[in-house]
């Protein structure tokens, strides 16, 4: 038998060989002084490297208790869970805008100005099925996805929208104050209460957003109810939360009138929450996995280009990792909501 290769002797001494390989090596060693010497040399080399590396050790320290680690793991888990499930969609919108995501808004309003906008945007209107398909454009760069919503992000909430406004000559002429990006934006949730009250008070405010984005006029009555509506199950708030394993996707402070869930597998659940505004109109927040949501929204938008009448509806979608939140409701309410995000804290 030829001599034992060096690496096999290392593996032998490291006890990384099978029993039969060991037997083979040992029987050879018994009758081969050269390999014995080689083995002893390698054993010494092993011991020396171990001793050398032992010098490279930090001072002994007591590890924190297992409990401390477990608690931190729990916090990490719940944070991840919250982020993924978008339990607090409001915070996510803030984060999304803060991170420079763009929101699409399909909205319409029967004002003269918007009719002009409609004419201008006719091409875009015809392309609405693509708009649904093009939701990939809503996906932020992946590095942003792992960021936790934090006050730091709120600081920059206003800028993306405001910057867009500034690029529109008409809008910037009308609302020069809005181009002041240095002013602090409004925190979302406290302002949402006033959403309904804010509606219609300020025509410029409520139409500003539609100038920023391509707008599509749509007829509520011609929009089929969400195509998969028949699969919805009406459930209680508690049941929905239990089923989806997350807090309801909803606007804080508004009365919840109905909660619906669809999907059977846990990670395919879509939750829709209807909430009533002070005016009696309903705003619906739908949250679910991107794939299912894209289907849902594509159906929802299919007939929009035939819009002609005056009952209008808006749909705003935000993509967050592999999940999408859609908020549907009166166009001006949603605009007000978006405006709030871009407006300074202190509003006269």
């Amino acid at each position: 038998m030829p001599h034992i290769p060096e690496d096999e002797l290392h593996a032998y001494l490291d006890q990384a060989l099978s029993r039969s390989q060991c037997v083979e090596i040992e029987s050879h060693l018994a009758s081969c002084p050269a390999c014995q010497a080689q083995r002893d040399g390698i054993a010494a080399l092993r011991d020396r490297t171990t001793a050398m590396l032992a010098v490279l050790a930090p001072p002994a320290s007591l590890p924190p208790s297992v409990e401390a680690i477990r608690i931190r793991a729990g916090v990490l888990q719940s944070r991840r869970h919250r982020m993924v499930r978008l339990g607090s969609w409001a915070a996510s919108i803030v984060a999304a805008l803060g991170l420079g995501w763009s929101a699409h808004m399909w909205a319409g309003r029967d004002t003269g100005r918007e009719r002009a906008a409609e004419t201008r945007d006719r091409g875009a209107a015809n392309a609405i099925p693509e708009a649904a398909a093009a939701q990939s454009s809503l996906i932020p760069d992946s590095s942003a996805r792992s960021s936790t919503p934090s006050p730091r992000h709120i600081d920059v909430v206003g800028s993306p929208i405001v910057r867009q406004v500034a690029t529109n000559p008409g809008a910037s002429r009308e609302r020069p104050a809005q181009t002041d990006t240095s002013r602090a934006p409004a925190p979302l949730s406290p302002t949402v209460h006033g959403l309904a009250a804010d509606r219609g008070n300020n025509a410029e405010d409520s139409t500003r957003f539609s100038q920023v984005n391509s707008t599509v006029l749509a007829n509520e009555r011609e929009i089929p109810e969400l195509a998969t509506e028949s699969m919805w199950r009406i459930v209680s708030v508690a049941a929905a939360e239990e089923e989806s394993g997350a807090p309801l996707p909803s606007v804080p402070g508004l009365q919840v009138v109905q909660v619906k869930v669809q999907g059977l597998r846990p990670n395919e659940k879509i939750v829709a929450v209807d909430q009533q505004l002070a005016t009696g109109e309903v705003i619906r927040t739908i949250e679910g996995p991107a794939a299912q949501m894209t289907d849902l929204l594509a159906h929802d938008g299919r007939d929009r280009t035939t819009a002609a009448s005056r009952a209008f509806d808006a749909l705003m979608t935000l993509r967050f990792g592999d999940r999408i939140v859609a908020i549907r409701g009166p166009a001006d309410s949603l605009r007000a909501l978006m405006n709030r995000l871009a407006m300074p804290v202190t509003k006269p």
């Binding site: 593996a11 390698i42 490297t49 010098v55 001072p59 680690i69 793991a73 990490l76």
Partner: protein
């Protein structure tokens, strides 16, 4: 009953700290990162926790090394950072000698290729050949070869350094 990860934490924590320390050269930082590794492990519940823990530790250390500031500190740390001193009281001479020893071994380790160094450190942390193979992407059969080379080169580099030292001393005196 103690769960597998908690048992792993008790038995492997110091090995992970040591493994990280040999990459970031900062005892406090190594401990922070080791804790982060186990926090993630308990949140994730990986299938092969021991290999997973070292893989994540290696990733964290790599991220850490990317920070140029750290890299700069790494060179001065051995001399300036008191935390590297063993906790028990040592005579000043012993402490200096210990520092020199560390510096020499660190220099020798730095002369290995990244792969040789990684395999050697993983082995020294208690990983098996198959675990090392999985983490480094080597074939199991190649782990022995790599370890053999790494050990030889580490000792050679160290001896060269010693020899150089002696010559320097001889030249000065």
């Amino acid at each position: 009953m103690e769960d597998e990860l908690e048992a792993l934490y008790r038995t492997t924590y110091s090995a992970v700290v040591r493994f990280l320390y040999r990459k970031v050269w900062d005892a406090d930082r190594a401990q922070d990162l080791a804790q982060e590794v186990f926090v993630r492990a308990m949140a994730h519940r990986p299938e092969k926790p021991r290999a997973w823990v070292f893989a994540v530790a290696a990733n964290l250390a790599r991220d850490e090394a990317r920070a140029a500031v750290r890299r700069k500190r790494h060179l001065t740390l051995l001399k300036s950072d008191p935390v590297i001193l063993p906790t028990r009281e040592m005579a000043a001479d012993d402490a200096v000698e210990h520092d020199e020893q560390m510096e020499k071994v660190q220099r020798a380790l730095d002369q290995l290729t990244p792969r040789d160094r990684e395999v050697l450190l993983l082995w020294d942390s208690g990983l098996s050949y198959p675990e090392i193979a999985q983490q480094t992407g080597l074939a199991v059969g190649a782990v022995g070869t790599t370890l053999a080379r790494a050990r030889r080169r580490l000792v050679e580099a160290h001896d060269r350094d010693e020899l150089q030292d002696h010559e320097d001393h001889a030249a000065h005196s």
